[in-house]
Amino acid sequence: MADELALTGNPSSLHAAGRRARRIVEESRESIAADLGCRPSDVIFTAGGTESNNLSLKGIYWNQRARDARRTHVVVSSIEHPSVLDPAAWLGRHESAEVVTLPVDSEGRVDLAALTEYIHRFASDIAVLSVMWANNELGTVQPVKEIAQLCAESGVRFHCDAVQAVPWMDPGVWMTQATALSVSAHKLGGPVGVGALIFDDAKKLEPLLHGGGQELGARSGTVNTAAIAGFAAALRESVVTRAESALQISGLRDDLIRGVAQQVPDVILNGDSSVASEGRLPGIANLSFPGCESDALLMLLDANGIACSAGSACTAGVARSSHVLTAIGLDDDLARGALRFSLGWNSTSSDVAALTAALPDAVTRARRANTRQPVGT
C-alpha cells in the first residue's frame, strides 16, 4: 500500500498509469474474493462499513420494491449497528418501508424461531432482511448460516453486516447463500476509509452514488487504489493468522473476564454467558459494573492509560445507554455501568494486568461519584 501512495493513475483511465492502477485494483479484488470465498465480480469497493450497509439496505430495498411493489418490509434485528438501523428507519420515513425489528434473547442472539415464523409468513413482502454476523458491542455471534439458508429457500434478500466478524471467522461456508455482506478494511488492520460490499448480482442493486459508473455501476467515484491494495493485504494477513490469533486473543479475553471478576466480584458479563465460548467473538468483553456510570469509569481508566468504550456516544460525545444493552433487557443501572473492552492482535497479558490493577480504585471512585438515582430516561 505504501508503494501505491507514491504513484498516480486513475484506474478508469486508458493510459499506462491508469492501466497499472487498474491492475492493482483488480488483483486486490481477486485476492479479496479468494479470501472471502466469492467471485471477483461480487466485490464492490466502498468507503467502509457504513457505506456498505447503507448501499445494501437502500440499494436492495429500491431494487426489490421496483420489481415487486408488495416488497416493502425492511427486517432488521434490534442490535444492528446504527449504520443499518438508521438507513432502515430512513426508508421507513421517506420511502414507505415497513420496518420490522426482530427481538434478541438476553445474550443478544436473534430469536431464530421468531425469525423463521416471520419469514414463513411474510416472505413475499420482504424487500431486505439484515442481521449482523457478530454484534460489535457484545461480541455475540448470530446464527447467520441458518438465516442465510432460510432466506435462500424463501427467496428473501439477506444482507449481513460482517464488519466485526470477518477478522475472526471464515464466511466461506455460508456466504454463497447470502445476498450481501459488508466488510471494512480497518477492522482487519487495514487502512480506514475503505471497505466492500460483497454482492451476488450488481444488477440487482440501486446505487447511492451516480456518476462514472465504476464498480459495475453500483458505486460511481474514482477508485481508491492505494487503500484497496492495503485492504487486500490486510485481509490476506488476517486470513493467514486468524485461527492462531483467535485462540490467543480468546485466552487473553477469558483472563480479562476472570481477572476483573476477582477484583470486582459483582461485575456482570453481558452477552454470551459461557466463558471460552465460540458464541462470542474473541476480542470483546462487555462488562457491567453495578452502581457505576460508565463515563466516570472510562475517564478514570483513560487516566491510567487504559482505553475502553462506553455503550455508545452521540455526535456530541454524551454517553448513552446503548440500544444493544436495552435490547437484551439490561436494567438502567447495569446498562449505564457497562464498558466494552476490545482486545486485538497487539494486546498483551500486561495490558490485562494493568486493567485489573487499575479497576478496584476506579470502581470505588465511580461508585462514590454516582449520586444519581436511577432515572427512566
Binding site: D295, L300, D302, A316, V318, A319, R320, R365, T371, V375
Partner: protein, 372 residues
Amino acid sequence: MPMKVLAAMSGGVDSAVAAARAVDAGHEVVGVHLALSREAGTASTDNPARGRGCCTIADAADARRAADVLGIPFYVWDMSVEFAATVLDDFVSEYAAGRTPNPCVRCNEEIKFSAVLERGIALGFDAVCTGHYARLATNQEGDHELRRAVDMTKDQSYVLASLTEHQRAHAIFPLGDTDKSAVREEAARRGLLVADKPDSHDICFIPDGDTAGFLRSAIGEASGDVVDAQTGNVLGEHDGAFAYTVGQRRGLGLTVPGDDGKPRYVVGVDAASNVVTVGPPTLLNVDCILAARPNWSQQVEVNSSIECGVQIRAHGEVAAAVVRPQNDGVTIDLHEPIRGVAPGQLVVFYDGDLVLGAATIDRTTRKSQTTA
C-alpha cells in the same frame, strides 16, 4: 501546588482560555463540556438538527477542538437531568409564584459548583475551573474571598456571590485579572479558533429570547387583569401574571396612556390573584428591601449595621445602603431610592470590590408601604 482540575468548557472563548491558563499553571487539567439542555439539536439529544443557544452540538465540538489544541483529555457530561430538576423547574416555579429568578445564579449554585464539583471530587479532582470573570483569593484566616473582576464590564461576581466557602475553596477563575479583549487576543495567540465567537447572552435554555413564550408553554395561559396602581381601575387584560417582571415597560398591551400621558410600568405582580399592577415610574422607587436565605462570605453579626454597596441585578449599578443581617434574612435600607427591584433576584453586598454576601430579594417597601 499542582492540582487535578476539572475545566468546564462551554465551547466559548472564555472557558477555553481559562482551561489553557490552568494548564499553564501546572495543573493536571481535564476538560468537561456540560450537556444541560434536552432541546433538539443540543448535546444531550441524539437529534442532529442544529440548534442555537448554549450546549448545542456545535458548542460541544468547539469545546472538544479547544481541548485538543490544549492537549488535554475531554469528556461530555450529561447533566440535563440535574439541570432540569434544579434550574429549569426552579425557573418555572419561581415565575409561577410571581418572582423573577436568575437561572445563572442557580446553575452556578446547583450544577457547576455542586453536581459537577461533587462528582469531580468523588472522581479525584481538586477543583472546578471556569471562564467566569471574578477573582478569588485566600485571606489571613484562610477563607476564600470573592472579588469583582478587573474588567468591570465583564464582571460576573454577582452570579457567583451565593457560592459557599466550600464551593469557593474548590473553584478556580483564571480570567478575573484580565480584560475581555486581552482574553480574545490570547485565544488567537494560542490558536484557539473560538477567539472570535460572539459572547453568549440571555438565558441559555431560551435561545430565541422569548421568555414569556417559554413560560406560557411551561405554565399555561391564564388571563387576568392589568390594574392601575393609583386608581384601582382595570386597564386591560394579560395572559398570565407570571410572565411579567417589576420594572417592565414593554409588552403590557395597554392601548391608553396613563393620566399624565407618560408610559406605565409594571409595579407589582401578584401571582396568587393573577393581577399585574401598573403605574408611573415613580412607583418603582424602592427604599427598603427585605431579602431571604442570606449567604455571608464575611463574618457578620446579627442586627449589626453594615454600610456597603448593594447590587440587585446581574449588570446593574451599585447603590449605597445600610444592611442589617437578621437571623433568617437581611434588611436593606437604601440611601437613595432605586428602581426595578424584582423579588426573586439576588441582592449582592459589596465592600468596594469585595463580595460580603448575597441574599434573595423577597419583598420591597416604599415610603413605609409594601408594594410587592
